[in-house]
Symmetry: C2
Subunit: 230 residues, 2 copies
DNA sequence: TATAAAACAGACCGGTTGTCCTGTTTTGTC
DNA sequence: GACAAAACAGGACAACCGGTCTGTTTTATA
C-alpha cells in the first residue's frame, strides 16, 4: 500500500494551520479505505500515516490507540455506509421489495462498472474483528441490528398499507441482510458481482407467498452465554 | 492465545520418533483452529508452534512459509469442512430442500449447544484473505464454486425426478450459499445462532413457487478485469 | 554398517509494529 | 500580552513477527 504525497507545495516553512477536524477526517478517510481494502491487522499505522500525510503525534493525539481508530471507523464510517447504501434508499422506496431490489441492483451496477469487488465494509470488519475484541463485536452487532430493524420496520409499514401481510418482518429482514452479506462475500471472493443478481432473483420470490401466517412466530431473542475467550 | 503444554513426561532425553505425517497433521489442526478463532494475521507462527508443541525447524520443514501453511489449511481443511458439513449431508438427503433444511438445523443445533459462534471457516478466511493474495482468493473461490455446484447438481437431480421444476438450479444454489454465509456472519457478530433459523424459514419459502420458468435465464459468467492491486 | 536424505531442534536476525515520550507551535481565554 | 491547553512534529523503544541458518538426530537405502 502506497500513498500519493498530497503535499501542497510549501516554499516556506512558514506557519502551521491547526485543523483538528480536518485532520481527524483525513485519518478516518484513509483508515476506512485501508481497513476495507486490506483489513484491520494488515493495515499498519505507518501505512495510514503515510497515506494521510499525518505525523505520528497527530495520529496519536486524535486516536490514542489503533483500536480507538478502528472503533471510530466502525461507529462513524461503517454505520454511515450502511445507512447511505441501504437504509436511506430503502426508506425512500415505495415498498420493501422495491427498495431491496433497488439496493441490490444499484450495488451490482456500481461494482460492475467499478471493475472490482472489495466487499461489504461491515462484513469485512465483522469477520475479522468480531471475535477479536468484545468492543468491536458489540459495535458491529449494533450496526447489523439497525440494518435489520430498518428493513423490518419497512415491512411493517407495508403491511399497515395492506401489502405483504403474510411475511414475517423480522424473518424477511434477516433473510435480506443475510442474502446480501453472503452474496457480497461470494462476489468478493470470485471478483464477480453477478451473483448479487442471482441472489436477488431468488430473494424476490421469497417474499411472495402468504402462507403459514397465524400468530406471529415467537421470537428467539436468546443471547449466548459467553463467546469463548480469544 | 495460550496453549496447554501437552508435553508427555519425558524423564529421559532418550530417543526421538520421527512422525512427519503426525506432526504435519498436528500443525494443521492447530492452524485450522487458530485461523478460524483469531484469523490469519492475528495468529502468529509462535502461537501455533507453542500450541502444537512443535519446534520452529519442524514447522518450517513442513510449511516453508506462513502462506504455504494457510494454503494447506484452505485446501485440506476448509474444503473438507464444507464437504463434511454441507455437501455430504446434502447428497444424503432425499431432496435439496430437505438437505438444506437439515444442514441449517444441524448447524444451528450444534452452535446452540456449543454456546458460542466462531463463524463459517470458509467465509472467515475469505473475507480476510481474498483481497490479500491472488493465490488465497483462487483457492477460496474454488471451494465456493464446488459448494454451489453441489447444490445446483442436487436441484437438477430433483428436477429429473419431477420436483422443483420451476426453480433455477444456479440461482437457488447461489441463494442458499449466500443465505447461509450471511446468516453465519450475523450469528457470529451477534453471538446468537437463532438468525440461522430465521433465514432458513425465509429460504424455504423461496424455492416454493414455480413462476417465470420459460427458457432458462441466461447466465452472466463474466469475470471482472482485474481486482485492484493490494 | 556406511551414507545420504529426511526430520527435527533451537538459536538468530533484520525488519516491522504499536505505543510512548519529549519538544514545539498554534489557539483560545482572561 | 500572559498563559494554559490543545494541536502537532518526530524520534525512540521494546516487543514481536516471519524467515533463515546451523547443527543434531532419525530413517531409508544399499
Amino acid at each position: 500500500m502506497s500513498a500519493e504525497m498530497n503535499v501542497q507545495s510549501k516554499p516556506r516553512p512558514r506557519k502551521r494551520i491547526n485543523d483538528p477536524e480536518g485532520m481527524r477526517k483525513k485519518v478516518l478517510d484513509v483508515a476506512e479505505d485501508a481497513f476495507q481494502a486490506c483489513g484491520y491487522h494488515a493495515s499498519s499505522l505507518g501505512d495510514l500515516m503515510a497515506a494521510a500525510g499525518v505525523s505520528g503525534g497527530a495520529l496519536h493525539h486524535h486516536f490514542p490507540t489503533k483500536k480507538a481508530l478502528a472503533l471510530a471507523v466502525i461507529d462513524e464510517r461503517v454505520a454511515a455506509a450502511v445507512e447511505q447504501t441501504w437504509i436511506a434508499p430503502l426508506l425512500a422506496a415505495a415498498s420493501v421489495r422495491e427498495g431491496v431490489r433497488a439496493v441490490f441492483e444499484a450495488v451490482a451496477a456500481e461494482l460492475e462498472q467499478q471493475g472490482f469487488v472489495r466487499g461489504c465494509p461491515l462484513n469485512n470488519l465483522a469477520h475479522e474483528l468480531s471475535l477479536a475484541d468484545p468492543d468491536f463485536r458489540i459495535a458491529l452487532a449494533g450496526i447489523f441490528a439497525d440494518w435489520r430493524r430498518a428493513i423490518s420496520d419497512k415491512v411493517r409499514a407495508d403491511q399497515r398499507a395492506g401489502r405483504d401481510e403474510g411475511t414475517d418482518p423480522e424473518r424477511f429482514a434477516a433473510l435480506a441482510v443475510a442474502t446480501y452479506s453472503g452474496a457480497m462475500s461470494m462476489a468478493k471472493t470470485a471478483q464477480d458481482p453477478s451473483v448479487l443478481r442471482d441472489c436477488l432473483a431468488g430473494l424476490e420470490r421469497s417474499a411472495l407467498s402468504s402462507s403459514q401466517g397465524g400468530l406471529a412466530a415467537r421470537r428467539r431473542r436468546r443471547v449466548l452465554p459467553r463467546p469463548r475467550t480469544l
